[in-house]
């Protein structure tokens, strides 16, 4: 399958896939609602008599709370409730991996923007004004806002016992390796934001049984439910969650935002309470991608064959743990890229600081590391005089190799092939005379007509783990029901796996159609009435929830055949379900599904687990930590106005192995969107934090790529089935975000001829002013 939108055409290899089945690209079932404005996002929720909740947040990165006076706020007409830490009925703590974050700060605030109090009122503006009248008496404390400084034994501790969240130590091969060629570099990556467009929102509705129904935009309903139960001191059956429309996620909705707050206000007031962040609050209201400081060294033979690697990776986790532990796990175990290293020493650290908390974002620890290992790979290529593509192919992983944790890569690892594909794509035409200024650096600002513009080309390749790693019980649940409705067989699929825009609901329908032969598949709303679907992250849902839906369909099919076998007095093993018919071993129609089902429904619920992963050895970092690896490569072509420091990405071409494209169009959509986010980090996206204060919490000052910034993309999708995965699928969403940024950065370096060891690359880095 290949897509070439550079010439405004999309070509897909003709296949004979039946419409709507796996391998086809049926339209998403929510598409019409989304283009007409009828789709209900979390921020669109509305309820008669509802109140609005707002959050009062800390203005200080680190302070002791000496007292909170809410009396004045309570006197504001229209205010229903004002809550502080004292009003949290359960444990005042939440967190994905460790419950270390207060629902509302009690003794200390540890970052700017930490929630301190809540207000519910009949108008959001009333609530905001009342929140301003809450008097918080802060004793400002010294803040640790530098990750290196946080490692000092005498640095103020953000938490007891100290600031280290995790140190991953990885050793393999020789202890003191040497090599004839040694290259090294330092690299820094700034703090990126997920910048999903739909703000954090939810509606909590108090229920008659004393419990609560929460409608919210999230990535994992059940992990939210667990944390909300802890904070509310309520059992799971009283805390029911339903997914509302999600306006993008990218990791930023893994941690709680409005969830507990809205529930607290609703339970206190007895009214439905809606909370919805504005853009500025959103920048404070979710975790970000960890900024990284890295030092890498590669040793190699004179021909470029890698001998060893040493890497030091320091990730600033900010004030609370969130998923820092797992991000360090990825940066450590995958942080040298898809290459073969005989000897390795990696030390990856995550630390607490009084900066904004950092956690999950698409690419999860691999993104930061890829900038360093790919820049160093170019350095090595230039040092030994080998072509930059060739050196990657020389050292690239192949199936059967061991990675740096000693895990066998036991399915396709087409590093060399992916690089060859992007290298062989035609290059964009040279810039001619009289080029449209919109296609030049500076675009509509018309800053150049081509003078001072230099072209550069860069390459990068990556691999990423799919699913949760290091021994996590990473399962998903699916309930599938088959019945006759109005003379037609209808399947209903019910999972709690979050649809965040990626297209999981389409994939669930495709799997049901394929397995059960029905045309009509209803996707039940996502809620906690069914078992956990696991997280919509780590590129895992098509694999894991897809696997669960497949398994549930198989169970339904088996149950239908059992019923048919009973009725027909034949062994079930001789029967097959073919569309709406039950056929015998030679294809003869024996009876119809309608006859077998009658008025009954056949329903099965199945939990699906991928093969287990294992903890790594704490001393050596060795072990089978990951379930699957996904590979991608990018080639970027850029034009740089070296006088003004402006960059125009002219082409961003990529190849990726997806195992099996369940929905080829959605796969391409993931690759395009993921590539844009990687490019954004390379060139423009950074939350600027000074002394613990966020300086640019708006889309005016935090820039994400626009349609003018994105170049046309050539995309080639390989389908080397993973024999261990359902249908052979391989996770898709994250690799493009990992390899696109380093390719863009490499292209800019090639154009400018400067080392540029920090991203995002800013105009002043290019001009040196």
């Amino acid at each position: 399958m290949s897509t070439d939108t550079g010439t405004a055409t999309t070509t897909t290899t003709t296949t004979t896939v039946p419409p709507g089945r796996i391998g086809d690209s049926p339209l998403r079932p929510d598409g019409t609602l989304k283009v007409t404005g009828e789709f209900a996002y979390a921020s669109d929720l509305w309820h008669d008599e509802m109140a609005w909740g707002v959050t009062l947040r800390s203005p200080h990165p680190h302070a002791r709370i000496r007292g909170i006076d809410i009396t004045e706020a309570l006197t504001v007409p229209g205010v229903w409730a004002v809550l502080t830490a004292d009003d949290v009925p359960g444990e005042n703590a939440f967190g994905l991996e460790h419950a270390d974050q207060p629902v509302l700060a009690s003794e200390f605030v540890r970052y700017e923007g930490e929630p301190v109090a809540l207000v519910a009122a009949d108008h959001p503006e009333t609530a905001r004004r009342a929140a301003k009248r809450i008097r918080v008496d802060y004793e400002v404390l010294p803040a640790v806002t530098d990750a290196r400084r946080a490692m000092d034994p005498d640095a103020p501790a953000v938490h007891r016992p100290g600031n280290l969240v995790r140190h991953l130590r990885l050793r393999r091969g020789e202890e003191n390796p040497t090599a004839p060629v040694v290259v090294s570099l330092d690299f820094e990556v700034g703090m990126q934001d997920q910048a999903f467009l739909g703000p954090e929102s939810g509606l909590a509705v108090p229920a008659e049984d004393g419990g609560i129904d929460l409608y919210v935009a999230t990535q994992w309903l059940h992990v939210d439910q667990r944390q909300i139960c802890l904070a509310l001191g309520m059992p799971a059956e009283k805390v029911r969650l339903t997914l509302s429309g999600v306006g993008g996620a990218f990791g930023g909705r893994e941690d709680l935002s409005v969830h507990v707050h809205a529930c607290l206000l609703a339970l206190r007031t007895g009214k439905p309470v809606k909370m919805s962040y504005g853009r500025e609050e959103s920048f404070y209201g979710h975790v970000h991608r960890h900024p990284a400081t890295m030092t890498y060294e590669f040793g190699a033979e004179r021909d470029g064959t890698l001998v060893y690697a040493k890497a030091y990776v320091l990730l600033d986790g900010g004030a609370y743990a969130s998923s820092t532990n797992a991000v360090v796990g990825n940066a450590g175990t995958l942080g040298l890229g898809p290459y073969r290293f005989p000897s390795v020493a990696v030390d990856a650290y995550g630390v607490f600081t009084n900066n904004p908390p950092c956690g999950a974002m698409r690419g999860f620890g691999c993104v930061q590391a890829a900038f360093a290992h790919e820049a160093l790979m170019d350095e090595l290529a230039d040092t030994v005089g080998v072509d930059r593509v060739a050196i990657r192919q020389l050292n690239g992983m192949r199936e059967g190799d061991l990675n740096i944790t000693g895990q066998v890569i036991d399915s396709a690892a087409p590093v060399g092939e992916l690089l060859q594909i992007v290298a062989d794509f035609p290059l964009p035409p040279e810039r001619g005379e009289g080029a449209d200024p919109r296609s030049l650096p500076g675009a509509v600002n018309n800053t150049t007509h081509g003078e001072g513009v230099v072209r550069g080309i860069g390459y990068a390749v990556t691999y990423k783990n799919v699913g949760f790693s290091e021994g996590f019980d990473d399962y998903s649940t699916a309930r599938v029901r088959l019945e006759m409705t109005g003379g037609e067989a209808v399947a209903t699929v019910h999972t709690a796996a979050a649809e965040v825009g990626q297209g999981l609901i389409t994939v669930e329908q495709q799997i049901c159609r394929t397995e059960l032969g029905v045309e009509r598949v209803v996707v039940h709303p996502k809620d906690t009435a069914v078992g956990s679907g696991g997280s919509t992250s780590a590129s895992r849902q098509t694999y894991v929830t897809g696997g669960a839906v497949k398994a549930a369909c198989e169970a339904v099919r088996a149950a239908v055949l059992e019923r048919a076998a009973l009725a027909l007095a034949r062994p079930a093993a001789d029967l097959r379900l073919d569309g709406e018919k039950i056929v015998g071993s030679s294809g003869e129609v024996l009876t119809g599904l309608a006859e077998v089902l009658g008025d009954d429904a056949v329903e099965e619920t199945v939990e699906y687990r991928h093969r287990p992963t294992h903890a790594i050895d704490p001393e050596t970092g060795q072990g089978d930590a990951h379930v699957q690896f996904a590979f991608s490569a990018h080639r970027a072509v850029v034009d740089v106005d070296v006088e003004l420091g402006l960059v125009k990405v002219v082409a961003l071409d990529t190849a990726q192995d997806v195992g099996k494209a369940i929905n080829p169009d959605a796969v391409v959509g993931q690759i395009q969107g993921g590539s844009a986010q990687g490019m954004g980090l390379a060139l423009m996206e950074e939350i600027v934090v000074t002394d613990g204060h966020v300086r640019n919490p708006s889309f005016t000052d935090y820039l994400i790529p626009t349609i003018l910034d994105m170049p046309p993309m050539r995309i080639e999708v390989l389908e080397y089935a993973d024999p261990h995965a359902p249908y052979g699928v391989r996770g898709v969403g994250e690799p493009p975000t990992i390899s696109s940024g380093p390719a863009v950065a490499a292209a800019v370096r090639a154009a400018v001829g400067k080392p540029l060891r920090r991203v995002p690359i800013r105009p002043e880095h290019i001009t040196g002013t």
Partner: protein
């Protein structure tokens, strides 16, 4: 404050509007028309784009009072009953919709572009949609959708 305005061809009247409310807020929270989106409310993303007397505007930047007596068209007003407008149809067919939060604003902006420029070139499309952020798609399929809608309009 009382606001009376025509929205999607229907007279709308709402009371008790606070002077600081935007047209976006009034549409979404008081008129039951949440189709226009609220991704930034700072005039930076285009998700709230509506027509005000035929001109596309960021409704988050328009004070509700400014809409009094004027004509507003939102994304909810573009389809012809059950029949999608060709721009809407093309967005669905081309996979230009993922999370869809940017979609209402982009549909209105593309609708406006094609009304002014029936066969836009790629640079014209990019320039016209430069004020509409999308975080999911990388914009490629949005370009495809606008091209397809233009093609269909030319044929019709």
């Amino acid at each position: 404050m009382r606001i009376t305005t025509r929205v999607n061809g229907t007279e709308q009247e709402v009371d008790d509007v606070w002077a600081g409310e935007s047209l976006l807020y009034v549409l979404r929270e008081r008129m039951g028309l949440p189709g226009s989106k609220n991704a930034c409310e700072q005039g930076e993303c285009g998700s709230c784009t509506v027509y005000l007397d035929g001109e596309p505007v960021c409704s988050c930047l328009v004070a509700a009072g400014q809409a009094i007596g004027r004509e507003v068209t939102t994304v909810e007003g573009l389809a012809d009953g059950e029949r999608l407008h060709p721009v809407q149809e093309a967005f669905v067919e081309c996979g230009a919709v993922q999370c869809g939060f940017c979609t209402p604003g982009l549909v209105v902006a593309a609708h406006d572009l094609l009304a002014r420029v029936p066969s836009p070139s790629d640079p014209e499309i990019r320039e016209a949609l430069a004020g509409n952020l999308c975080r999911c798609t990388g914009y490629e399929k949005i370009l495809d959708a606008v091209r397809l809608a233009a093609e269909r309009q030319a044929q019709a």
